[in-house]
Symmetry: C2
């Protein structure tokens, strides 16, 4: 219903792990971190937009990303600081490993 991102404290750690446990979504997070703030449409452009939108919703609802509208586009960014605060090192460790193993 609501388009709002959750408070990170309200999200179970299992939901965060689950969101990151899908290769497609992890790709998106990797790309997103490389790009900084970017429109939804720039991530995994090989996928149909319905699929992309689905995965971005999972990431958003897990508290990993924020979206902000600007014109017709929606800009995405990783909630890195908040994530680092609640899960120190987690994102860095996961992304470093994902980057190394490819």
């Amino acid at each position: 219903m609501t388009d709002e991102e959750p408070q990170l404290t309200d999200v179970p750690v299992t939901a965060v792990l689950f969101a990151l446990s899908d290769p497609t979504r992890l790709d998106m997070v990797i790309e997103l971190r490389g790009l900084g703030e970017t429109p939804c449409g720039t991530l995994r452009t090989d996928l149909p937009k319905a699929t992309r939108s689905h995965h971005l919703k999972v990431l958003r609802e897990a508290g990993l990303t924020r979206q902000r509208r600007e014109g017709t586009a929606k800009y995405l960014r990783l909630r890195e600081d908040e994530l680092a605060q609640r899960f120190p090192g987690l994102l860095d460790t996961v992304l470093a490993d994902a980057a190394a193993h490819r």
Copy 2:
């Protein structure tokens, strides 16, 4: 087929995250860490053993645990050192958070 645990380096990070993203399995890991080395049957004893065995298999195949037979029992332990080496801080962070939010 094989009963062997995988090399941790052969397991995709997504598989590790997936294994930890299920509340039942995360419970098992928490209990397991508290108990050190313990027989399979001591974790989540509220569940039927087929279910328990299923989740323990997921954990094993994700490289999170090792099993060793001793008499009729199989002793389980977390591969903490190996995990810490490949994913520094990850397990600590996840388990600390899970312990805090309950």
